[in-house]
Symmetry: C2
Subunit: 477 residues, 2 copies
């Protein structure tokens, strides 16, 4: 099935994306509209994402916990902007154990409210602060237009929720976690994200302000890939999260939240994938090296399979798969593993066995150029070096692609053209009106106001007002 | 807070259990009836349980995946016994995105139905078999009487779901996973479980038969700690899970499912805990060693804290916590970490620093007997050996306790007395009537029919009928 021709990205990027997910067996459609089944290969990728992030969370002092799936409807209503933002998207449990419930329960769309409630019980004194907790969880948002991984009714994510004594500590935490996401995206997923602040319109419902990592997909659309929110005292006031300070005065906490979801799998697919299928960054790939034995008869098979055992032993420190299926040809297997984006393929044929050699092929460099014959003795070292090189090459390629599709748009016409072929980077007066006009005319939204501003000033690309703020504008997923 | 006196097990086992969970900060009550918040210390224990199990699942060829939280109500109705068993316990979503749903969605109480539906799509040929998938998930059962960890509306578990070509392969898998649970319980949690088959009355709703690992708690009640079900072709027929065999004939698959949940945390608490609090098996303990510095003034403090850094370095391979809180006394800390069940405590005072020595105290041996002074040079080796010894001692102690509370009850009177002070092990004719009578008269249920039967025969403890089957009877959680 994976050997059927894949729609190319140029033909139809959206079909290409959907087909890859099916052919590489990442996920499938569930019988409930908008829900997905994440298949073992897709989940193994998510597990590697989890490990890479969880390590970083623990290194920065966070602990995991688990808060309930169900939230009383009344909790949502305690923070005005929050309920306005989320109420159109709620799934509601009205019956339990055969009885109608007195108060309907919401299936969590995010957990600020229920965690806020618990923090108000747990936090008494400045000595209890900061509280630094994360949870790995499923959440539900009743979306109307869904896409596998990118936007599904139920999705998987981590949500960090922290409480602090001061505004500056909360802001510090918000930025720290944004940079944890950036570090993860760049160094584990080889995705060159741009960090910045969300506009007032685009921020999280209930936040003081939101930061984001924005990535450019292969069709030049933007994907918000992780967000970190400074919630100020909004939730602390709504849920009475208070502490006694050193002078025995009651103070409201300052809280943050930050999340990254299975949507990030979509980002990996659309950043690195090519017309042969998935291309996975070695550091996250469930399988880093696949071994394909090649033989024409029973004697050859025996010799080759014996040799592959030697190869497996030499590569014990990597994530390796031996494809010893009998019913498939080597050609079929090559295509199959290319579709699944495995970074390195090792081919072992009778001649290789005789010469104590191997053929090694890079997924990211198609054809003969990416293939070489190596001595068995150099195998471990070679695989190690190639995986590092592939990781770097993917990042370099994605960065070059991104940079060649960002345009400094000076005029409104420039901007309109730019967002048809990439992202526009323009002066913007930060008014909602100018932002809304761009969205209406072009379907592009403000992606973020990056931290690196050149300190010069210029004219807002819409209204011409003098401003020192530049922002990215793009069509987005 | 943790230093307030704990109710003893003899005073009130149930209060003792609830207090430990609060004082050791394992979990808290959620604002929704019957739901729990698992706090960081409890969740860290669950993460260690997950790691130990997940490793075993992967070693036996299973892969993880993720299936949806929501199941169409009609799916539940496809397997008759299944819907009868679960329908009183369902949470139902009737509204999504502000609209009433055409078909209500059930929040999964277990996933046989939705996974069965997906397997019927995925499985075509004998070449696709076996399918060996597990998921780590939250599930919801609308229980009326709840207890933290033991029985909560929402709980966390893993559920394995496999499909096979033959009845014998399915039976083999069912038993394999039961023994994986047994191995985990005995060798990681130091809980000496008894393996066996559930009676017809006690089996999983929809199973051909169910196997269980049963543990004895500190009050001698039984706790079903993990189950493995041979589902026969029941779900395959209900969901059309069919494959073409080697002769191109369409056949129904044989399926299994097996699960272990956060209830197991309750088993750990109630197997090993004592009147000072939790006692955690070293292999699963989130903190294996706690270091408590002791000082009386600023100079001492500096010298002692410097020395603890040396200790931390020496113990880098263990899960170690330095308790450097300033506001608490050493005595408070000793009680606190005893409550939390940390296997080893290291005390470092000025005299120890001067002599290059340390005091090391075992959680499982109270008072002076469990305390010794050791040379710093022997620290790593000593800690390693003590953790192994504690692990073994806990298992030995729990086994002795269990064995001294199982009674071979020959007569009905014997049985009635036995289940007041432990478990009864008796001949039973396997009839539902005799089982029901025991339950009605004594509140004890059949826990399991163990694999180790002595092949002799005797009289059913209720009706006197000749039988070669012996079963365990006990009051249970």
């Amino acid at each position: 099935m994976t050997n059927e021709k894949l729609t190319t990205r140029d033909e139809n990027f959206s079909d290409w994306y959907n087909e890859i997910i099916q052919k590489a067996e990442m996920a499938d459609y569930a019988p409930v509209r908008g829900c997905m089944v994440i298949k073992p290969y897709g989940w193994a990728l998510w597990e590697n994402i989890q490990k890479a992030l969880d390590k970083r969370f623990k290194e920065t002092g966070h602990q995991n916990a688990a808060f309930p799936l169900f939230i009383p409807m009344s909790f949502l209503e305690k923070e005005k902007e929050h309920v306005e933002g989320f109420s159109p998207e709620l799934a509601v449990v009205t019956h339990g154990g055969g009885q109608e419930l007195e108060e309907p329960l919401v299936v969590r769309p995010t957990s600020e409210t229920i965690i806020g409630h618990m923090y108000s019980k747990w936090i008494k004194s400045y000595r209890d602060l900061p509280v630094l907790i994360n949870q790995w969880a499923n959440v539900v948002r009743w979306e109307m237009r869904t896409r596998l991984f990118l936007r599904t009714l139920e999705f998987y994510w981590q949500e960090g929720h922290t409480a602090h004594a001061t505004a500056s500590e909360a802001e510090e935490e918000t930025l720290r976690m944004l940079h944890v996401y950036e570090d993860f995206a760049v160094n584990e997923a080889a995705i060159p994200v741009i960090c910045g602040m969300k506009s007032e319109t685009e921020k999280f419902a209930g936040a003081l302000h939101s930061y984001t990592i924005e990535a450019m997909m292969g069709d030049t659309k933007a994907l918000q890939s992780g967000t970190s929110h400074n919630l100020g005292q909004n939730f602390a006031k709504a849920f009475d999260i208070q502490y006694l300070d050193e002078k025995n005065q009651l103070q409201y906490c300052w809280t943050t939240s930050w999340g990254l979801s299975t949507r990030f799998i979509g980002a990996i697919i659309m950043t690195h994938g090519d017309d042969q299928g998935l291309v996975l960054p070695p550091r996250l790939a469930p399988i880093q090296v696949v071994i394909v034995p090649i033989f024409h008869n029973v004697e050859e098979r025996e010799a080759v399979l014996q040799y592959t055992q030697k190869v497996l032993t030499a590569l014990a420190d990597f994530r390796v798969k031996l494809d010893d299926r009998f019913e498939q040809t080597p050609g079929f297997k090559f295509n199959d593993w290319e579709m699944r984006g495995v970074p390195l393929r090792i081919e072992v044929g009778p001649r290789d066995v005789a010469n104590d050699k191997l053929v090694i092929a890079r997924r990211d460099v198609p054809g003969k150029e990416g293939k070489e014959i190596i001595e068995f003795g150099t195998l471990t070292q070679k695989v190690s070096a190639l995986l590092v090189d592939i990781q770097q090459s993917l990042l370099k390629k994605a960065t070059a692609f991104r940079d060649s599709h960002i345009f400094e748009a000076q005029t409104y016409e420039d901007l309109q053209q730019s967002v048809e072929k990439g992202w526009a980077f323009s002066y913007w007066c930060e008014s909602k009106e100018c932002e809304a006009k761009i969205k209406e005319d072009t379907k592009a939204t403000t992606r973020c106001i990056p931290f690196d501003q050149d300190q010069k000033s210029g004219s807002c690309v819409v209204c011409g007002k003098e401003t020192s703020t530049k922002a990215y504008f793009a069509k987005a997923y």
